[in-house]
């Protein structure tokens, strides 16, 4: 059995092994192996290619951009996604604009340990995918499975553009797979995580699993819920979403991030504009509450969507 976290470690090991242009840079990623141990042992296996960085997110990202110009393929680990706010400018204004301005690609991968966990609190729990998707010039990946964590991270390193790799901390240990994948779904293609015909849940990352649990529960009541795992939110696979809605006529978009302008807003906007006639009922969305992510489990468990609240929304959608 291999965990989602181990898959991320293995993908980085393979990237280092296969491509001399790859190096890893971030706080405590060296001998310590990273705050989450995602780079465990790599500094020893690949001497001089896994470097501890100072607490300087702006310079960390900026230096990765420079190295990319020089032909390297840096993998940057932010200790937590939340800290990327201090590297924000280099990401959205330097990395994201380089190719468009100069025709020189900027192949950097920025790993963001994302999402909420019990006791994480307001500054170790954020889901920042929508922020980065809003800016032109970035690819935003949100793997929900062990297989995708592995293959998409390898893809991210191979892609000639800056990739924001949102890996979910909650899945790090919870998620296990038999083995690493040998082939992968191409980037930009969504995956039908569960087939159904009564309604479509479009979601990504950790919420895929809450949605699957919910689908399982509703199945006992005879409902067949289709669950779509977007895999990457930019590009966002509108076609797969529309095809599903064409089958079910009902759409619920679920995201762990904040509501205003989040992934769920983008999905609903696309389906409303491009698949209006496919809808048999008003589409719905479910997000985290519009407050910072609370520390205590009692609050956190209610702040984010769960199988239970998703089921409640679905019942409403199905009865519409």
């Amino acid at each position: 059995m291999i965990t989602y976290l181990e898959a991320i470690r293995e993908a980085q090991a393979k990237a280092l092994a296969d491509d001399p242009r790859v190096y890893i840079y971030g706080q405590d990623v060296g001998n310590f192996g990273g705050a989450f141990k995602a780079t465990k042992g790599l500094a020893k296996e690949y001497p001089g290619r896994v470097l501890d960085a100072p607490i300087s997110e702006d310079a960390i990202i900026g230096s990765a951009i420079g190295a990319a110009i020089e032909g390297m393929r840096p993998i940057i680990e932010m200790q937590f996604a939340d800290f990327s706010t201090v590297g924000f400018n280099q990401i959205v204004n330097q990395a994201a604009t380089l190719h468009w301005r100069t025709n020189v690609p900027c192949p950097i991968t920025i790993r963001l340990p994302s999402g909420g966990t019990a006791g994480g609190g307001p500054f170790h729990s954020q889901s920042m995918e929508a922020l980065y998707a809003h800016y032109p010039g970035l690819i935003v990946m949100t793997p929900a499975t062990v297989e995708d964590a592995y293959s998409m991270l390898l893809e991210a390193v191979a892609i000639d553009d800056p990739v924001i790799f949102c890996e979910h901390k909650y899945l790090y240990y919870h998620l296990k797979a038999e083995a690493l994948p040998t082939e992968a779904v191409p980037t930009g293609k969504a995956r039908i995580a569960r087939a159904g015909r009564d309604a479509t849940i479009v979601t990504y990352s950790a919420m895929v699993h809450e949605s699957l649990a919910c689908a399982e529960e509703l199945a006992t009541e005879g409902w067949e819920i289709e669950v779509i795992d977007l895999r990457s939110i930019k590009p966002l696979d509108t076609d797969t979403v529309l095809a599903s809605v064409a089958r079910t006529g009902r759409l619920l978009a679920v995201g762990e991030a904040w509501p205003w302008g989040g992934v769920t807003a983008e999905i609903l906007a696309r389906v409303a504009t491009e698949g209006f006639d496919l809808l048999d009922a008003a589409p719905m969305r479910l997000n985290a509450k519009d407050t910072p992510v609370p520390y205590h489990p009692n609050l956190w468990g209610t702040h984010r969507p769960t199988a239970k609240t998703i089921a409640a929304a679905l019942r409403q959608l199905l009865s519409a």
């Binding site: 706080q27 100072p54 170790h124 509501p259 479910l286 519009d290």
Partner: protein
Amino acid sequence: MVQATAAPSVSAEASDTKARFLAGYRWMQLARVSEEKIASLYRGGKITGGVFLSKGQEALSAATGMALRKGDVFAPLIRDQAGRLAFGETLLDGVRTYMGSRLGPMRGRDGNVHRGRPLEGLLPMISHLGAMLPVVAGILLGRRFRGIEGTVGATSLGDGATSTGAFHEGLNLAAVEKLPLVLVVANNQYAYSTPTSRQFVCQDLADKAVGYGVAAHNVDGTDLGACLEVLYRAVEAARTGGGPQLVVASLLRLVGHGEHDDASYVDPKLRDTPLGRDCLLVAEQRILAEGWANSATLRAWQEDAQRQIEEAVTTTMREPLPDPNTEDWCALASRHLSEGSLPA
């Protein structure tokens, strides 16, 4: 806040070295004992999330809290249990925040070291290192606007946090405005697992002061007497118009970065240097050597500290946890402007 009672009569005799030293010792002791209790609660699964302790850094922190007075501002960081207590934070505030009590200052919304009472001058840190520095500067700027004089603002940072842009911009802004700000940098030789050699290359972090045009002070962070002397001097200098003061203390963190961490990355040789001394034991030895108290008294104090933390925990255990149903899910102070319509 009902202040924890480690030293009822400090301020009265603040001038007296002995009394001050003993008071400092008791804050250190209370911090050590209370953090050990927090750690045991964590190991017992009573605390969710991180637990960050200050073992080895109590002398510096206590001195910082003591050098400040009521009306001053303090933005502690993750290794400031002693300074928080000395500044006036109650043990209850700490325990309640760690355990998420609805009656705590953070009401379960934020936890562990992310606690404070801004209106009482104690700022609740956000996680982003360096970010509290400009906020302290802003409070002092605000006081200047309001004509409030003679108060000081202090904040703590680690060696690693000196690499942040926030540290640079915040200290520079404070210097330009010549604010009464004391920046206490605890150089414990590591930022999580990262040694200072990967963090900066100046000989001494105090060397940074000249580039900001601020005063610098070095101190042995394992020596309570030295910490008290230097912090009182630095705070006094800030209070009397000396502008920002950079205090750099050398010491070692004698625990993991957090309770999840065994700190195996710390160079054993370092532990054997004077940096590796346990400031609490060092203080204790001085007290006995000076004959300021005998070991029976020290034990009595220790038991008193034990009693206080146990009492705080017992109280907190009986308190209600946050309730998502009665929780007010509104981020704005202007309730009428909050978007009820947002589909959460």
